[in-house]
Amino acid sequence: MSSTGRLSHNKRAAGSIIGGVFILLILLSGLTFYTLNVNVTKDFTETLQEMQQLDFERNKENVEFAGVSTTGGNKLNMTVRNTGSHQTHIIWLIVVDETVTPITQECHQLDIYVEPAETVSNLPQEDITIPEGEGRVIQLVTELGNTFSHTYPTSEEEDRDGYDFVDSNTSDADNSIDKGTHSLFSGQQYGPDGIVDTLTEGDTGGNIEDDVDSNTSDADGSADKGTETSFANAQGISLDSNCMNIRETNTGGSGGSEWLDCDAFDSTYSEWTEVGSSPYLATQDYPSSYVSSISASTREGWFDFPNTFLTGTLSVNLTIYSNNDDGVGDDRADVYVDYTGTGSGSLVGSVAQHANWQYDTINLGSHTVSEVNNLRVYLEYTKTGGGHDVRIDNVRIGVRSSADYEIDFEYQWTTTACSSDNEEVCIYVAAHTGTENLDVSYWGGSSWANLGSITSTGWTNLTALGLSSPTYTIQLVGTTESSDEYQDDWDIDLITLHTWNASNYELDLEIQWTSVDYDEGNEWLCIYGGTMGSEDILVDVWNGTAWINVFIDLSSGWNSVEVSSYLVSSSLTIRFRGGTETSDATKDSWEIDATFLHVWT
């Protein structure tokens, strides 16, 4: 009995367990399917959210055609700008030709991402030809499913819509001169189309050629010497083969010579033996008239001479016909000469130290006419060994008048640069007749200081010492200014002061809009750069009183900046400026393809 009851109880327990297991399996299956459905529902919800986001972004997407044109070869060239608030991915370009039947359309795949406010140009990258004079409908299709159309050619109304290209490069808002150059300003006024305006830095260190201003100065208070023709031909800043000629003038004698025989004896000294008639020494006539001595230190004189007829500086020698009894190295007559007519005279030489009769010549050098006319001579006997005679038969002076060609010209700068790093006086001599050189000096305020010499034709470049004020005077003087018997002349093409500083390349170029729509909600300055120099190029906006920097550098491609705060009137001026404006020895250049203001609301 108990055995039967235990068995019955155990069977119910096993059945309950099996039933529980099945119930558990059923619940697990239900949970599994529930979880699966929840996940599917969740995925679906996420998909809906994703697509809603896509629709949202699609509605916010906007692309504008900033420019549509054809370049060389009639190739389509477009510039587009993302004016939406999300990145745009352009995936198709469709070009529809409605001028033919049936209408054709070309579909070109693109892969262009354009960020908000970004402008992309030179689209498409592949060549699409639009024959000259024909039109097309151009569509850009984005990944988000938007289509943006443009009809080419652009109507004037569309062309003006919000895009205002720069008008002028002649403004001067800041009253400072431009630095650097435009290659083609109109290159900025259209495009971007590959036609660029290359901005190139100018050398503000550079060279200054300052030609001579005047030939009438007289710094030293002495008259010019020489002749000068066509001074203007030495002016200018470059060689032109038109020359000024300067030529030496004769400040010496007229030329010629003469002998002046003794014509008077004043007996101041009369200690020699006098034979014949006074003045005893007038001619070579021994033994008719002569003087002789045998006593030591005896004197005879003064002997005078007639006046000369020659002029100018005179070369003078004294010639005495004489002999002695004992020959060479023995007794002699010392000769004393006075050039004033009242002086005591000075020893100029000795004569008669030879037994034969002959003329002994003493060179007296150069003298004036007055000195020659006052010249007088006395003789003093000098004894050697036993006393023997010294005889003088004739005394005469030989006078020669020599030409003396001189040149002395002043040239002056009156407003020259005087604070440059390098300063040179540069003189170009095209031709030179003669062998004499020209000394070049500058006036230091009280005297001339030599700069150097012109020794050959061609350029002579001399450091302009003493150039410390705008007025600078130089002097050209011949290097042989006495007893110069030869007349030189020079053809001078140019006299200039060449001053220069170390090269410093700078850029400062203004450009201006003159009739801008300035009351829109969005006002952007857009500049499209081509190949850009390694130096930064800055862009400043003029706010009426000062320059405000808006770009610290421009990149190749588009550069855009909001300028609403400066665009408060119909005029706007900007300038391009180099990033390195001092000690810049490198000349940079930058290509600007297009510069415009994009305004819209």
Binding site: K11, R12, A14, G15, S16, I18, G19, V21, F22, I23, L25, I26, S29, G30, F33, L36, N37, V40, T41, D43, F44, T47, L48, E50, M51, L54, R58, I91, W92, I94, V96, T101, P102, I103, Q105, C107, Q139, V141, T142, E143, L144, G145, N146, T147
Partner: protein
């Protein structure tokens, strides 16, 4: 007793699994269709009418899934004669040209409602002036 419980439990479990599976499968299929439909986006980006009496719809698939155009309606009238493009699979970001003969005469200068319908039932509508 154990046998009875096992047989009944297995029957109930089997029936439950079948019911859940059937229900879930139906749900999944439905959700899959709805999701695919939700992921589908296309746009008629161009309509060209040429003098050969044919209209050309250029359709862009900008959705997240491939699609095919199944039907076109002009002012509610179904297009019956397709030249090309119908049923062609359009992959993502791709375009397809659907060319057809309009079901009635197109009048120049008149505006028509064009509706393109995908095989999943998505549609896009444009108003086109002939």
């Amino acid at each position: 007793m154990i046998l009875i419980v096992s047989i009944v439990g297995a029957a109930i479990y089997s029936n439950s699994v079948n019911m859940l599976g059937s229900s879930s499968s139906s749900f999944l299929v439905q959700m899959k269709r709805r999701e695919e439909s939700a992921r589908e986006r296309f746009s008629i980006i161009a309509v060209w009418w040429n003098n050969d009496k044919q209209l050309n719809l250029t359709i862009l698939n900008y959705g997240k899934i491939d699609l095919a155009i199944d039907a076109v309606y002009i002012d509610g009238t179904a297009v019956t004669t397709f030249v090309s493009g119908r049923g062609t699979t359009v992959t993502r970001k791709d375009i397809v040209s659907v060319r057809f003969n309009p079901p009635f005469t197109i009048q120049d200068g008149q505006t028509y409602e064009l509706v393109a319908v995908s095989e999943r039932g998505s549609r896009d509508v444009v108003y086109w002036k002939a």
